[in-house]
Amino acid sequence: MTATAISLVDVTKAYNGRTVVDRFSFFVKAGECFGLLGPNGAGKSTITRMVLGMTPPDVGKITVLGAPVPAQARLARAGIGVVPQFDDLDQEFTVRENLLVFGRYFNMSTRQIEAVIPSLLEFARLEGKADARAAELSGGMRRRLMLARALINDPQLLILDEPTTGLDPHARHLIWERLRSLLGRGKTILLTTHFMEEAERLCDRLCVLEEGRKIAEGRPQALIDEQIGCQVIEVSGGNPYELQALMNGCAQRIEVSGETLFCYSSTPDQVRLQLRELSDLRLLQRPPNLEDVFLRLTGREMKD
């Protein structure tokens, strides 16, 4: 096993003259969960496709599991499991058939595949669903089936493109729990997401990107401490620009996004004191998170 699972060096990709990934570099160590965090269109999927050798970069060097990509992508893919952003299950096939067919794409024999199906179903909490058609499954179940399918070749590296987008909180938590158990088994994960919470919960390190460029990289908590390092009070229900003037004295920084004012302050009590007179406001005090980091670095919110 190589110590570096993925390395991208100065990778650039343009579509029709528009640069969508711009001199991007990162590496993923074996056994860690690395996140690519960014809003819609930031280039997350394009990067994962390049890592898989499904899209060649215009410039730059990519190495995955020791193999140069795309030249020897097939070699790398033998040790990779993928959950793509969009559902590509065979809708008319049963859960079992979906797994059977996919195992064959890895040159596994029917006997080999049938030997691993029970443990995959158990892992994905789909034990009772083996003979249900994929089209009949709920969104969360389909996503878990995709995850089970990605594990059929017992990969050491998993590439998950927005694994929980579109799922309800319960289904999302179940996926997160399953991913943590995979990390516990020593798997390496490259995860893309636009959920701050997901990134914070799962990623050892992550990289925040916007319009194909890296704007921050590090451990989630370190990024939050570095970039914010104080309490946040969200104020809504008033004119944010008038409020801003009121609080200038007691806040380190103030950001306005839409109707909401984000007040960053190490003396939150003073902020509350200032606003006490104004009745219609809604205040929410909370510790800082990655959302604040993104707002700070780009001046805008990352919408779910």
Binding site: M54, R74, A78, I80, F86, E92, F93, E97
Partner: protein, 262 residues
């Protein structure tokens, strides 16, 4: 550029079977409907057109018109079965169902997928063509033993037309596009290749075009064989069909790479 093209060519000789087996599982679920569908059309042609026209036409090239038509239909049904499988079903798997995308995450290459789809389409051609050949034999329009010779020709015809259709599928933006292929290429080919009337009825200069039509070569192999007559230029006709199977494969794979992997 060249290196990345080589990377999408078939990884080995057997990878394609995984794609074929996937399609077989899907087909099995609706096999009866599918068989009736692929047989119905040529049978209706055969009995509707054949019985009606036989009365007026009399004998053609020393055989009854319905027998003449039946032998043409064997090749033609192979053509349509594999073409439709490719431009509708394989296209849907490639574009709408994202099945190909999913396969590209695995140990199969794009070339493996294309071959799997071509062989699958040829399998459906084989079913349709063989069924009609069998009906023709039952009705006494063909020699039973000829079916043995005809089967590989039907399969090869299926591969050639699937391979051509794959180019169309690779560049088609949507399903409407396929109408052009059917009306501008396939239907004229049906009439120019001697399926419904002898090529000798065509003007001399048109007859020269016929030499470039794969369906004509297929019919030249199938028809005499089914009547138990000696087949002329076997190697030449087979060679042309092989060429039509192989050359488009490399073109469609390159086009599909540009479409799916850019």
């Amino acid at each position: 550029m060249w290196e990345s093209y080589v990377a999408v060519l078939p990884a080995n000789w057997l990878n394609w079977t995984a794609v074929w087996r996937r399609n077989y599982i899907a087909w099995k679920k609706a096999a009866l409907v599918s068989i009736l569908g692929s047989l119905g059309d040529p049978m209706i042609y055969l009995f509707g057109l054949g019985t009606g026209l036989s009365v007026m036409v009399g004998r053609v090239e020393g055989m009854s018109y319905i027998a003449f038509l039946a032998t043409g239909m064997v090749a033609t049904s192979a053509m349509t079965a594999s073409t439709f499988e490719t431009i509708y079903a394989a296209f849907a798997r490639m574009r709408d169902q994202r099945s190909w995308q999913a396969i590209l995450y695995t140990q199969l290459t794009l070339g493996d997928i294309v071959i799997g789809e071509l062989v699958w389409a040829a399998t459906k051609a084989l079913l349709a063509g063989t069924a009609i050949a069998t009906v023709a034999a039952i009705l006494g329009y063909a020699v039973w033993s000829s079916i043995l010779y005809v089967v590989p020709v039907i399969a090869l015809t299926g591969i050639a037309f699937a391979s051509l259709a794959m180019i169309v599928a690779a560049i088609a933006p949507n399903y409407e596009y396929f109408i052009f292929y059917q009306t501008l290429i396939l239907t004229p080919m049906l009439f120019l290749s001697g399926a419904v009337f002898p090529v000798t009825q065509l003007p001399a200069n048109v007859q020269q075009v016929v030499a470039f039509l794969p369906l004509a070569h297929s019919i030249d192999l199938v028809r005499p064989a089914m009547f138990g007559r000696p087949v002329a230029d076997v190697m030449f006709h087979l060679g042309v069909l092989v060429l039509f199977g192989v050359m488009p494969f490399f073109i469609s794979t390159a086009l599909l790479r540009r479409r799916l992997m850019s």
